[in-house]
Symmetry: C2
Subunit: 453 residues, 2 copies
Amino acid sequence: MTYDLVVIGAGPGGFDAAVEAAGYGLKVALVEKRNLGGTCLNRGCIPTKLWLGATSAIEELHNQAKMKVASGEVTVDFTALQARLGKHLTGTRKAMAIQLKKLGIDLIEGTGRLSGKGTVEVDTPDGAQTLQYANLVVATGSRPIFFPGLEPDGDCVLDSDMFLAMETMPASLIVVGAGFIGLEMAQVAHRFGATVTVVDAMDRVAPLEDPEVSKTLLSIFKRWKWNVLLEKRVAGVRTVDGKGVLTMDTGEKITADTILVAVGRGPVTRDMGLEEAGVELEFNRITVDENLRAAPGIYAVGDANGLIQLAHAASHQGHYVAAAIAGKVTGPYEPGPVPSVLYGAPEVMRVGRMENEVFLADEGCEVSRAQLAANPMAQAHAATQGFVKVVWANGTVAGVTAVGHDVSRLTTAATMIVKQGWTSEDIHSIIFSHPSLDESLLAALKAERTPVE
Amino acid sequence: MTYDLVVIGAGPGGFDAAVEAAGYGLKVALVEKRNLGGTCLNRGCIPTKLWLGATSAIEELHNQAKMKVASGEVTVDFTALQARLGKHLTGTRKAMAIQLKKLGIDLIEGTGRLSGKGTVEVDTPDGAQTLQYANLVVATGSRPIFFPGLEPDGDCVLDSDMFLAMETMPASLIVVGAGFIGLEMAQVAHRFGATVTVVDAMDRVAPLEDPEVSKTLLSIFKRWKWNVLLEKRVAGVRTVDGKGVLTMDTGEKITADTILVAVGRGPVTRDMGLEEAGVELEFNRITVDENLRAAPGIYAVGDANGLIQLAHAASHQGHYVAAAIAGKVTGPYEPGPVPSVLYGAPEVMRVGRMENEVFLADEGCEVSRAQLAANPMAQAHAATQGFVKVVWANGTVAGVTAVGHDVSRLTTAATMIVKQGWTSEDIHSIIFSHPSLDESLLAALKAERTPVE
């Protein structure tokens, strides 16, 4: 039998492609070497959100205590939390397996490898299995990457996978890499009472974000007594006598119970026969055309093609590819604005283009903004530092970014506004509920626009 | 001098009308007898949100403790909370006064009364002041109303104004009226540890909402050990020996430290010369035409016209009326979908039409829904009871309602979706971030639709 579609990798991109294709009536096999749900479910977004959710009372209490309105103590039992997390993941994977079965999708558990035209060989615990395909989707995702000297040893030096599998939360933590992954995990450690050090080679935290967002984050982290070391090059990290020791290129050393290395993630695309099948790799990223096609009959979605490292972007690509294979769409893949979110407290959201992008494109860049301090919901949660910023290109909303309490809740509306290219005329087309944090988005949209020159 | 516009009432409707009109270059006077911000700021939405925000750690801790993940205790100091609330309100009113001054709006503090064609007489602490107007906006808002026997005595029987001004939170509370106002206040009392009884003449709580929403709320309240008494008629409430005593029409009595009567609010429109000026009142509501006009040159917005009792609806009307007076709009007032939100935990949101409305209009009513239990953010906060429900009319989204953890965050996106009349084609036009509670809205939009017959 030849499958209409074989998908390698059951993370958000691969799983959604398989499910969508089966919905179109295609015969589908899904190959997964580890766990249904991939990194996002098992070693990424979901565990971090469960950690953040479980500890949110600590943060809320802290903010009200600062105002002398509340007092007390909240203790989160990390062992119990990890047990609950494990149960949640098992349950979710089980539900996913049931969904696959219902849709008649064959789940093949093992490592897939391209082995000649239209063939995938899967190395399963029960021996090799050969699958014939008419179409292949490579959704093999990514794994943490390390510069030389920064490799985790699984002892006191951990990557994000190992960090999420810890049995106890360390009392002191050094995070190498001030991107979203490192910052979310550092926030959780902070809530558990750990002393936190963040080290980055760049001159700001969250270096992919608007510089003003980085500035606000830094100011909050400093208030939390984090040790934030910027423009620092790390020569190496290792475990010495049961402690994590980080050595700067200057020779300076800092020590903590645990070092988390979160400097980035890279595609998992090597040694699976891709090049032999005519797929081009550039820095391990699979090169795709405007239809997300890597070679005739072979598509790549998600972190494997490296276009954008976000679970929902992978899902969106998966949906498109399934529809393309089923002949339901023919046009090129259009991502639309892809939102990105840092969860926790503060949160960060961003969708569309940033100020510098619009400015550099010479498109009549203006910005308008609102401070969260003026918002009653931010006031109610005693977390008023932050802002919402709207970037305009020639009078149309091109991007929205925000930092502060609960700003993730602006994401979907902001995505719609950017996608629909709102002008100032559109602002009053809908009624924002009062009071709501969403009104800070409305306030930013209505605020005076300043030309960026 | 004749003002282009005199506004009576500085709540959301009146304040926004005044500000907007001044922005159009009109000369404006704003008359307020009590406090800038009206009921919403001083005795309604904002105080309740500050109470809910200050106590949210209690609820978060409770949920995680139920999962045996967290333990501890959070104590909120009610006196400190009330002091903080007072400070917040003073600060907000001050900022509003500064805004008025900046815009050249004359704030006249006193009680306004129509006293002949184009004239408002204001009874101020410094004596009477006479204002001439070309246009008048009546934005006098509403006050709690009571059936005979349910009048508050300010001792153990309180209305919502008195409740929000309390110096201590009672250990036991009876709330008469299971609408949003009563339920939000009951939630706060519950968080402070009060035993809560809710009494309503209807057969369900939140009787204006979808019956399934009422059912979910009831199930949560029962889990909290609330005593919810439905289809009960209250003969009277009064203070006896320092306790609130409620007597049913059956003669049965129940007792608590405090009784909150929250059975509704009615317009403040009497004894201010409206009828003499040609304005029609129906059950105290000012009758308005499609331009929100009550008589030549006289408009009414917000609770005073009784169209919809929500602060943001009043603001929206205020904006329209200001634009109409400035000659910027000529068409009839179009409210668009007005969202309504119950805050706290659980939350409720609703926008657009409900199932029964679409069904009764015979418009091919279908519903689709998603359970919050399937959402990772609800899981992360250990608050999974609830759902999102989409109501379709002839294949177009006509309404969205939801109940459960943090569902208020769906409001703005849902409002846009209803306003824009999305069909199933539009669902994939934007990317929802993952993980997010917003995905429960996406899931409900994508779910199988069941015809309502």
